[in-house]
Amino acid sequence: MPPPKALQKQLQEQKKGGDAAEQPHGGGALRGLGSVLCAPFGVLRCPNMKLRISLGTSDSSGLSFSPFLLLFALYFLIISGAVYVVINQPPSMGTDRDPKTGGLRHVAFMGGRINGQYIMEGLSAGLAMALGGAGFVMLDRANDKHVTIVNNRMMLTISGMISILSSLGLCQLFVRIKIPNYLL
């Protein structure tokens, strides 16, 4: 946006004036203050920080995959119950006594409660849920206009559909192990 005309004229006059411009009153004191204020910058340097997240400008069309991958990885960790694990410190998997031999058996899923899990159980369920999300992303990419080879498009669509259906089934299976009468 071009500056208003009055300001433009003033700037041009200043350029012409240059050294012949008036010195401010009490110029000595002000120049002394200026040198005091600039003193730190004799030693320090203002950092040339380019602090920027690349999320595309208002007119760019798309962006790279990496911010999404980072967010997706964080989402996978949180969905697997990482904060629950940090606070409650459950074991990696539970143990149970075999009724016949008396030996120790490993139990993968903490049954009976909705709000309890073991570490491996959380990670595998998180993987199942992330698989479903990845399936939807694959379907989205299959219909992108950047994908030109029809074979790729068909593969992405089929693998996306298989991912979604299988992850739904997996999640239902896992929940039914914990809560036997789920959806029955």
Binding site: P3, L7, L55, L71, N115, T157
Partner: protein
Amino acid sequence: GRGGAMSFVTPEKREGRTAEPALRFIILSLCYILALLPRLIAVARYESVIHEFDPYFNYRSTQYLVDEGFSNFRNWFDERSWYPLGRIVGGTIYPGLMAVSATFFWVLNAINLNVKVVDVCVYLSPVFAANTTLVAYYLGKEVSGGGRGVGLVASFLVSVVPGYVQRSVAGSYDNEGIAIFALMLTFYWFIRSVNTGSLSHCAASCLSYAGLVSTWGGHIYVMNLIPLYVLVLLLAGRYSERLWIAFSTFYVIGTLLSMQITFVGFLAVSAAEYILAMATFVILQAYAASWFVKQHIPASHQTPELLTSAKRILALSAGAIAFSIFLLSIATGYRPLWTGRFWALLDPTYAARVLPLIASVSEHQPAAWTSFFFDLHILVFLIPAGMYRCLQSPTDANIFLVVLVMSSVYFASVMVRLIVVLAPCACILGAVGLSHSLRVYTAQLRGVWGGARRHQEISSQWEVAALMLIVFAGMLALYVFHSVWVTSEAYSSPSIVLAAKSADGSSIIFDDYREAYSWLRHNTPPDAKVMSWWDYGYQVSAIANRTTIIDNNTWNNTHIATVALAFASAEAQAIKVLEMLSVDYVMVVFGGLTGMASDDMNKFRWMARVAEGVFDGNKTVAGIRPIVY
């Protein structure tokens, strides 16, 4: 466009009259009804009764407001709870919920529909949940830049999402029922004001934020999320005048309005939880000022020396401000700290170490994976899809959605109760992702059957598109089925009335709580003092109408520890505590042969822990193991 003789799906932008507005109205009405019906399962199964514990205090306050009027309500000092101490109710609650219910009560009674306060309280949450469905439609439309399809999918997803249903069933008369409505409305108006930069939209967002502050303590989340979003936009180089207008207005007027609530008061400018908002306001003004100055200097004058001196000025002023704040805090000795409840969200291990009372509440536990899947179902798959779509075509509104959902997913994993905030927001994000796929496949179908213009050059494989649409429809049907099942099995129990299945399959109803409270009400003198563990305090106050020693407000840890000491000590010591508190009756809940998992015997570990935390001379309570029958 290309008109055909047959068009099964009317296109979005066709001139002339279409059936689309009628279709939209029908879909939104069906979503509204769908939001109401599952929430009424509890009423159909038991009766129209208020659930849980906290809602009873809200009910008692609403009754007081209806009886005494608003100015007495604001000055209410309750001497019948926290017995020797009393509680300043007027200054320590969020009055929005009671005010709304009282308004409904007065309006309905004025037109001679003589409802009781109990009825209004029971049915308020489902009505507001259905209203949230409508707000979700507008929010989905705004976020996707006018896409009505996104709005419709969002409103459908929000209507039954179990994470929201769990706090808004009929009878759950709690703050979240209304607060989530105000939350979504605030987000809608804020996004609208960022998109348009119009002051009237900013004013609407401030008003809805004021409504949110008056109903819920979770407004701190909004007052931290929106500044975080502004910072993300600044870092992404997406500053615009609209953003500056929207946030400046929202911060100033929103904070001023939030200070009108007595419970918030001057905390809004002095508490540490609001510091991010204040800092972002200052940073945004500095950014806007530098942008404004840069606009008015022609490019030829923007020399490197000018840039250097501008940066030096900025560095010097920032240093001066920081130094003066440092001096001020040393001079006045005022160092704001985050209060325990909110600090536990940032440092998840804090509550278990320092505040056993907060850590013991079951809804403050962190979320395991099943809680996420139960409360969101297919939304856990749709969140990455929506995130991908938002990051592929980022607009200011899309980035807000991503920041919103990522932060609420983290906070929901720290505290299960906050899934109620995650659920509607995940619905909007999921709607963005799902609606895109739906639109692509329906466009392929439309291209085959004749209708609007085609978007792609490849030959449309309509069989694949039709198959996909059938699979999506099946998935959404499974979602509704799951949501209604979860509502019916898990979230429709009133907690004050218990049910169990006997050996031959018939269900037995335990109404012991209400019988006990009725006994207290009819068989004890009106000024009797009843001591019980704090879970039952609100119910004793509301139903039995007797003075209680401690209740669910848990504002005084020492008082609770005194009662815990009485419960955990031998009788000879306990009677001294009871005499000190002038207790007449003691109420204990015992499950007995029913094996109830949450009776006072099973809570005894927490009583011992609380007593130990304050009176550490009480070594007898160390080493208690959980009781197993």
